[in-house]
Amino acid sequence: MTPPEYTYPAGALAFPHRGLTGIAGLAPHQIWFLLDEAEQWVEMNRGAQKRVELLSGLTIINAFFENSTRTLLSFEIAGKRLGADVVNMAVATSSVKKGETLIDTAMTLNAMRADAIVIRHASSGAVQLIADKVDCPVLNAGDGQHEHPTQALLDALTIRQAKRAFNGLRVTICGDILHSRVARSNILCLASLGADVRVCAPPALMPADIEQMGVTVFHDFDAALKGADVVMMLRLQMERMEGQFIPSPREYRHLYGLTLDRLELAESNALVMHPGPMNRGVEIDSNVADHVERSMITTQVEMGVAIRMACLDVLTRKGRKMEGWA
């Protein structure tokens, strides 16, 4: 059902990047290409037979320097469904925070001849640092407050399936924008595809000069919701806050919680999205999160596996000497 907005060249020119460290640097048609590639895996994942041998014999290492449940699981399932050998390496942040250890770990993984490395790290730029040092493709599964590209891609796929086109689509992202890599990747991705992106947060949780990224800034949630086609909620990242940014979660909900009443302000068919994990009763009420027609939250998780399969497939094509990619 590819809408005709973007065309892309054949073979490796469709996605000429060695790895996926961020949405920044991707052209709109390259984003589109990944979304198209993911569609086949959405279909396969819905069937009974959920495994192909495309990446058979390849080793994928998930190196997570920061705790994660859903993203790690999603990457693991994605790799396994493509037939790869997937190894998870969970490293406590404390032991790699200092000294050369991060680079040393990267060099070790490299020496083990992984065919792709998926990295999550608590510091912005850490994934790029590793990507510059290893020979295989590196996928960013979230670096600090910088980027989380596969999340943005899976969100785009979710939106595309429901709304078909992005041009002029009003997307409101509300929550802890300051500490959110999901917000940054989504802003870059959605703005690049032509959506009208609004961000909403109290000033303390809004990064400086974010309008330079092509978004409209709101502090009043009701105003930000007016006419929105998609409402994307983010949680408060208390663990990244030093000092007090908001008076209390209860007070936060008072101004920025997505309730059924507030959702009325958006378009009548507006989608509700959340990258998880949710704090029910804070940024989103349960009856909104579980809204059968409006909530896309479980669809997002489903699209996540397909997007990660597409990324692993595309990024290993050169290594697998696929025709047109080697």
């Binding site: 050369e100 510091s123 912005s124 730029g125 790029q128 600090g144 940054r184 990064p207 400086a208």
Partner: protein, 417 residues
Amino acid sequence: MSLHAPLTVTGGRLLLADGSIQSGAVRCEGGFITAIGAEVAAQDGDTVHDARGQIVAPGLVDIGVFAIDKPAFHFGGITRAALMPDQNPPLDVSARVRFAAQSGKPDFWVHPLAAATQGLEGKALAEIAMMRDAGARAVCTGRRWIGDSGTMLRLLQYTGMLGMVVIAHAEDAGIVGNAVATAGEMATRLGLPSAPAQAEALAIARDIALAEMANAAIHFRNVTTAAGLELVRAAKARGLKVTAGVSPAYFMLSDLSIGAFRTFTHLSPALRCEADRRAVVAAIADGTIDVIASGHDPRGPEDKRLPFSDSAPGMAGAETLLPLTMSLVRDGVIDMARAFELIAANPAKLLGVNAGSLAVGAEADIAVLDPERPWIVNSDKMAAAAGNTPFDRQPVQGRVLALFKGGVAVRMKKIGG
């Protein structure tokens, strides 16, 4: 008395204390300059150095370095440096100050800066008078700002009485927090912890008010924003004992340089926006800034080959201090005489040392230099203990050809081309 023969540097263009440039010679005896001028000639038994028409200038005096890194200082023409108290352990007792003061001799002089507070924690005052008598030339808050205004006031009252200048780091710590970048589009795109540039002006405003109350002298080591410089300008106009310094990174670079997470551009204070960079250039031109200093802080891969926010701030700056200051001369921002006020005479005055200018009676710290000579900064081939420079691969002009400390030639490490 020196055991060395008297030195005469002949055939040079002398950069004199009054700012003029004159052909002639400089003669030094017993470690001091004894004669300067066109008629000065070498005498029998002198060591003679022919400057071959190059500039003969005072050795540079560098305020606020973090390490004693002699090869780098000598390469850069620096003969004296004021050492930051942020050592391990900190320079907060007289014994450590006395040791640091001896650590560069004979061919390099270290002027230790006394820690203002014990352990540089910003709480209890350190034994400043004892450190002064052990050789400390000024008092310094270190890398950090003293957050408690009461402590800062008492510090300034005390240093005012002792006649010592306080060298302050000007950034409001409550606003800065764990920031590693200046708030703005670049920090937002990179997702780096950032703080508004106004943290500097807030700190400067408070410290100027306290210094005025205490009638004490204060020097801000790095003033990097238009708002901060405006406060310094106004304080000077009111006759307060306020001076300001800056490192070349802040007039050469803006926060655009932190793109791609290059940790060599992780500095403290963080690099500012382009408008602030231009304000620094203007403040150097109009005299608001008194001192240009290297902030020399060599950091190896264990501190720098890390994610940006986990890396240590600081740059190796000793080798590029002269050429980057010379770039201001070539750009017509300042003239040669003013350049050497900024990198030699003013810092010497601030530290109260008898150096920093070519004058009879001054200590014979002399640099022979070619201000036009081109070379390329190469972080892999530096004299410094580490090559963490944001100016890597950048072509620069200005190179020291010979250096004399106390009238004795300094052996220079041969680096690069």
